[in-house]
Every structure is written in C-alpha cells, then in structure tokens.
C-alpha cells in the first residue's frame, strides 16, 4: 500500500542542485536547457506533492486479537470545544 513516489525533499533538493549547476555557469546551452526541463519537472513534482490533500485524521486502534485498525476521528468536535481539559497549573518548586 506504500506507493513509491518521489519524495518532496528529493525533488526539492534536485531542483536546488539544478539551480546550483546553472549558477555555476559551466554548462553548455544544450545542457542548460536540459537542466531547465528537469528543474521544471522537479518543481512540478514538488507542487504536486504539496497539493496532495487527503485531510484524513484517523484513530489507530488495536483490536482484542492484536490487529491494528483505523477508524475515522471526528476532529471538528474537539477543535470547536474551547474548554481545556483540566490540567494543573501549579508550578513545582525547582
């Protein structure tokens, strides 16, 4: 279930490397164009990864027979609740 897409940091660092290469100024025009195309691809990959919004918040639970399962977690409810759980405020003396 783990799809292997390029990771954001990989795509970003490729983009940054390409920019560094272009800044180095040692490239031929053909190479520059090739780097530019790759840079745009990496850039698009970064944007695509940033755009993946699944908006999933799930509870991870272990069933009595030891299996892990997930179930939806209703975050809205607790997000609205302004009252904080009772948690002590007292400082400790050290």
């Amino acid at each position: 279930m783990e799809e292997k897409q390029p990771k954001f940091e990989e795509a970003l660092s490729e983009l940054e490397n390409i920019i560094a290469e272009l800044e180095g100024g040692e490239l031929s025009l053909d190479d520059s164009l090739e780097r530019y195309e790759r840079g745009i691809k990496a850039l698009n990959a970064c944007r695509r990864i940033l755009g993946e919004a699944e908006k999933k918040i799930q509870l991870l639970l272990r069933t009595p027979d030891g299996e892990l399962k997930t179930q939806p977690f209703e975050a809205e409810e607790i997000m609205r609740e302004p009252e904080r759980e009772k948690e002590g405020d007292e400082d400790v003396p050290f």
Binding site: E9, L29, Y36, L43, L50, K56, E87, D89, F94
Partner: protein, 444 residues
C-alpha cells in the same frame, strides 16, 4: 634522617599478610607515585592530605546526600557555605555562585534538602567538604530523587546521546500522535498542523496521559505507530500539568520506547516544568503541543512561495544562459571572416592579380628584348646571305654532281654546269678552263 635511612628504621616491624615479604626496601616515593599506604613511608602532612584528597575525590564523585541545612552563610562573593547535618554527623558544604543560580528555592536554616555533588578536600584547613552542584528540597522526596537517579542512569546508558537523535522529515506524509483524544494537546497540535499544512494524514493513537494506564498505553502507542508503517514522524505528549501529572513521561518504559522507536519522535510535554525524561530521549523536544504542531509540518504557503522563488531563479538562469549564448553567437558573427566571408579570397585574388601584372610586364619586356635581338640577327644574317652576294654580280657554279665549284680545278672542259646568279640560273658546258697563272687548264 636521609631517604635511605627511612626504610631501615622500620624494617623490624612485623609484616601483614606476607605480601611485602619479597619486597626490598625502597626509597620514599613521592605522593604522586602510587596510592595506598606503605607502612614504611613517612609522609608529610601535605602528602597525606593529597592522598586523602585523591581517595575522597575519586570515591565520592556525584553523590546524593540527604541532610538538613545549618550554619548557612552567604558572603558577598556570591558563594554559599553551609553545613549538612543529621542527628549524628555533619558535612561542610559549599555551593558556588554559578551553581547557586540554578537553585529555584530559598535555602534556609533547618531545611531538609537533597544535595548532589563531589566531595573534595580543602587542604589549608584539613577539612573535607561537598561541592554541591544541585540541591533540592527534600519535600519532593523519594519521587524526585528517583527521577534524578533514573535520569543519571539513562544518561550514562546513552539514551540522551545527541548522536542518536534523528532530524525530522522536512515534509511528513503521515504523522503519528500518541496522546489523549480529548485533551488540549491534540487540539493544539491539530490546530497548528491544519493551519500550516492542511490535509496531511494523521494517525492518532489514543492513550491516557496520566494515571496508571498512561505508561502502558503510551508505550503501546509508540509501538503501534512503528508497526503500522509509513509513519514519518510522531508526536508523543500532553498538555502541561503538575509533576505528578506528567509522571508517565518520566517513566523508564516510556523513555525506552521512545529511544527504540524507528520513527523519529517529538516529545511535547507541558510547558511550565523542567524537562521530562521523554523530552531528553526524544529526537526533538517541543516546549508545548502547539510548538510540536508547528515543527512537525512545514508551512505549506511558505513552501509554495519558496518554490515560486526557485522557479523564478530557474527561469532567470535559463534566460541568462540563453542570452550569454546569444551574446557569444553575436560575437562570432562580428568576426570579419563571417561578416565578409569573401574578403580573404578577394585579397588572395588581388595578390594574384598583382603577380599576374608583374608577370605580364616582365614577359613583355623579355619579348621586346628578344624581338630586338632577332631583328639585329636577321640584319646580320641578311648581310651574309649568298643571294645578296649574287645581287652584287657574283655567281655560283655547281658541278654536274651538284657540288659547288669552288675553284677552276673543280671543273673540266665538257662539264655541264649550272650557274646560279641574281634572279636565276643558266646551264652551260665548259669550253676550257684557265688557271690564274695563264696556263690553260681545260677547254669548254
């Protein structure tokens, strides 16, 4: 008494345990050389003090001492001097100014404290004392001491080792959280995460964060998130609370679960309190759950702005490269060989033309000279021509065999000869021949 005398003086003494039987007497050693009492030595006060000091300072490093404060004195130096005592003994104590700054309660006469430090000897007074590095009111008692001891132990074991800490992933796809599903912590975390990076996947393992179920549930949560797979980072924590409330996060089992986690862990416990042990073990400590929510994901809007800046740079660099290339092309175009490609050829042609003219000139003058020479030769030739001679009245006579008759001797009477003279010839028969001397040679 000399050094050599000293051993002999005591050589009569009975020896203990026979260990020294085969030991030959040796000169007094300096205090620095070797430890342990050699009964044959005589030590100066300084020497024995140095040995005592070494023993004490080796064996009483980092000790915890429980006692009551008395004789408290705080001179202007800022150092604090006092005596720790119980009902049977007392121990001089000093708290240097630097360590005193870390003490968060007031030292008073009669206060029961736990002091942590190293025992040292103060040679000028022949006194030993404890140099206190940490001091706690004993009111917190056993819990506090146990915590400190656990902390020391885990630290020695390397659980807080910075080398073990991993960096957080820059962009986690799946975030695990171990905390109470109804606490302030989850709300604070989710608020920050959804503000900064809406839509990232979150797995919440619900765990009690205080009370007897807290430790096993937190440990189970850390394990479950490791086992589930694909979790890039996890936050383990709760909101602030009293020391007792936070106790689970000072538990050894939790510390070990955090240490063993292959998923990087952000510890986010309270904010009003000293560092918990899980804070120390975790890869990253967040001061609050809110801070954990901020550090666990990047700000997407900021990332997008960063990407836009990178895109601008990328485009700018390409434009730059193209314009550099264009500039080079233009420079090449400007080169005369391309601008006037025929120039070189024309120059060669011109050169050639010049040579050709020279050549023509030379040929002409040579021809003229030649012509001149030919002309004079012709004149000379003409003057020598036999025809010219014939015109002057001479004639040439050929013998019948065609040879030129060069003298009268070549002819005989009766010969048919041909005579060549100007404008023609005639044929005749020799009647007679006459020599120059008048003698009749022949009759024609």
């Amino acid at each position: 008494m000399t050094d050599q005398d000293a051993p002999d003086l005591f050589s009569w003494r009975p020896r203990r345990g026979g260990r020294d039987e085969d030991r030959r007497p040796e000169p007094r050693r300096s205090p620095a050389a070797g430890r342990g009492a050699d009964e044959r030595e005589i030590l100066t006060v300084s020497e024995i003090t140095a040995r005592i000091r070494k023993d004490l300072e080796t064996n009483f490093q980092g000790v915890w001492v429980a006692g009551e404060i008395s004789n408290l004195s705080r001179p202007n130096s800022g150092h604090t001097y006092f005596t720790l005592k119980d009902d049977k003994a007392q121990l001089a104590a000093v708290l240097w100014k630097s360590a005193a700054r870390g003490v968060r309660f007031e030292l008073r006469e009669g206060l029961a404290v736990l002091a942590h430090g190293d025992v040292t000897v103060y040679p000028p007074r022949g006194a030993y004392q404890i140099v206190v590095s940490r001091i706690l009111p004993q009111g917190m008692g056993a819990l506090q001491l146990a915590l400190l001891q656990l902390k020391d132990r885990l630290e020695k074991e390397g659980l807080f080792d910075p080398g073990h800490k991993r960096p957080l992933p820059p962009l986690p796809r799946r975030i695990g959280i171990v905390t109470s599903p109804s606490g302030a912590a989850i709300r604070d975390i989710l608020k920050q995460v959804s503000r900064r990076f809406p839509g990232v996947e979150i797995l919440l393992y619900p765990a009690s964060v205080q009370g007897v179920r807290a430790v096993p549930e937190i440990v189970a949560g850390i394990h479950a998130l490791n086992e589930y797979g694909g979790v890039d980072v996890m936050i383990v924590g709760r909101g602030g609370g009293s020391l007792e409330d936070l106790w689970a996060f000072n538990d050894e089992a939790v510390a070990r679960a955090v240490y063993a986690s292959t998923v990087p862990v952000i510890s986010a416990v309270g904010h009003e309190i000293d560092v918990t042990i899980s804070d120390l073990v975790a890869d990253v400590r967040a001061l609050t759950p809110t801070a954990a929510g901020e550090m666990v994901v990047p700000d997407r809007a900021e990332l997008l702005r960063h990407l836009a800046r990178l895109q601008d740079r990328l485009r700018g660099l390409l434009v730059h490269h193209v314009s550099v290339a264009r500039e080079r092309l233009r420079a090449v175009e400007q080169a005369s060989v391309l601008r006037r490609p025929l120039q070189a050829i024309r120059m060669q042609q011109q050169h050639l033309d010049e040579h050709r003219a020279d050549l023509r000139r030379m040929a002409a003058s040579w021809l003229a000279a030649l012509r001149e020479r030919t002309k004079s030769s012709a004149a000379r030739l003409e003057s020598l021509s036999p025809l010219k001679v014939l015109a002057r009245g001479y004639s040439i006579t050929f013998r019948p065999d065609g040879a030129i008759a060069r003298g009268v001797g070549d002819l005989a009477p009766g010969d048919v000869v041909r005579t060549l003279l100007s404008r023609g010839s005639f044929t005749a028969t020799v009647k007679e021949t006459t020599h120059e001397n008048g003698r009749k040679a022949a009759e024609v």
